[in-house]
């Protein structure tokens, strides 16, 4: 049977090939953390991590993900405590309505790995490179209509600089 692993647990893939990963999470698994904002890959509210890479769950047809391992916001934290980025979001007041937050956090967690792997960004070609502009560029796939961007960047920076989050 074709299966997919979500947050460490294996599930059979849906029968209907039209099912997106996002709809599979919502309608089959009752995992509502990844949000449906635009459903067209424009807002990033549905961002999940597929085999260590962040992607828009709304544009992924689940049948193409056989054998893949997906982490959603529900699987970001450990059993015992929040992920450091989740704590930083609380500390920095990095959300207002919260609708984009699960996507922002999945995206931010992935971005930390990309930075560790030294993946380039378009800002690396700019004459006036700055870490702040680099972070903004890397997070540009996640819209926040409340406009909490400044605090989201602060939260990301706290974790990047490994400051203690309490």
């Amino acid at each position: 049977m074709a299966t997919i692993t979500i947050n460490g647990q294996e599930y059979p893939l849906p029968d209907d090939p039209r099912t997106t990963l996002l709809d599979f999470l919502h309608q089959h698994l009752k995992l509502f953390g990844a949000k449906k904002g635009c459903d067209h890959g424009q807002c990033g509210a549905c961002t999940v991590v597929v085999d260590n890479e962040r992607m828009n769950a709304c544009l992924l047809l689940a049948f193409q993900l056989e054998g893949k391992s997906v982490t959603t916001i529900e699987g970001i934290a450990s059993e015992e405590e929040l992920h450091p980025l989740q704590k930083a979001f609380v500390k920095c007041d990095a959300f207002q309505c919260g609708f984009c937050t699960s996507g922002q956090i999945c995206s931010g967690v992935s971005m930390m790995n990309e930075l560790q792997e030294n993946n380039p960004s378009t800002v690396w070609f700019e004459p006036n490179y700055s870490e702040q502009e680099d972070i903004k560029e890397r997070m540009s796939g996640n819209l926040c209509r409340c406009g909490a961007y400044a605090n989201i960047i602060d939260a990301v920076n706290i974790v990047r600089q490994d400051k203690e989050v309490s």
């Binding site: 090939p17 990033g44 962040r54 992924l60 047809l61 193409q64 380039p120 070609f125 490179y129």
Partner: protein
Amino acid sequence: MRPFSVNSLTDGKQLADIGTFESSRFLAGGTNLVDLMKHQIETPQHIIDLSRWDSANNIDETDDYYQIGAMVSNTDLANFAYQRKDLSVLSQALLSGATVQLRNRATTGGNLLQRTRCYYFYDTNQPCNKREPGSGCAALDGFNRIHAVLGTSEHCIASHPSDMAVAMTALDAQVKTINTKGDTRSIPVRELYQLPGDTPHIETVLAEDELIVAVKIPKKKRGTQTYRKVRDRSSYAFALVSVACDLTLKDGVIADISLAFGGVGTQPWHAASAEDFMRNKTASSSLYEQAVDLELNPARGAGGNDFKIPLIKRTAAFVIQQAVEHQMANPGHQGAIHAR
């Protein structure tokens, strides 16, 4: 989304074993096609799934060329190209496009074949000759700020959206394909696309049963490379105009130049006339301006996009001037002007 059947291509199950029909579509990463299927702009009855086609995920390198498998993601290709000075313009173009989420999923073959983002192509309540041949073009008298000024026709002015394809055009890449009979061929990216004419729904020279297997980029000593993208916001937006340039200067003379434009053409625009005009001539600002003017001679605005003609001229002249200055200060330079 309309119902469809699925057949997966694998290294053991070739295209010839599967076959294609008029209503078949190849599905790679799906970042464009799945969206079009949701809008019911694309309504394939059969999907040939490429997600299990493992051998198309490789990048191979010989002394003469790089061969990028059709399923290599935009992220993997950008990271690879970043490490190679002769592919800098490709890395710059890829990283200027979309978002990390989309680049992680989008593929090399799919990027080349993505469809336009013309508003009227997406709005199924509007006439669009590309979506529904013979229905008319709402963009001609509509909001056409993002539309093309080169290669247009009275039937379609939709611009090609890809950044990567503009860099591939500048690098003179070749597309390798296979069809259901097992025939293979190589097509220069510069000849892959078709102008809209009176058949804007036909966008490339590929046959319906023809699949992109890989993209080959010739290896050679290149010069200063720039991908300059001008857009409404500094991230996550399609180009209003963009310029890909690879320039080598010798003793003040433009010894070699590759120039391609994005955002302004109905296809990634190879500025061949401008290149020919500048090659082996002494670099000067009047030379670049005359060369770009020559390229833009057939350009026609439709009202809202008239600004693109002076904008591409200024952007191209700036990019060339900057490359010339960098070559003067750093003879034999290869790669980006700035890179970390």
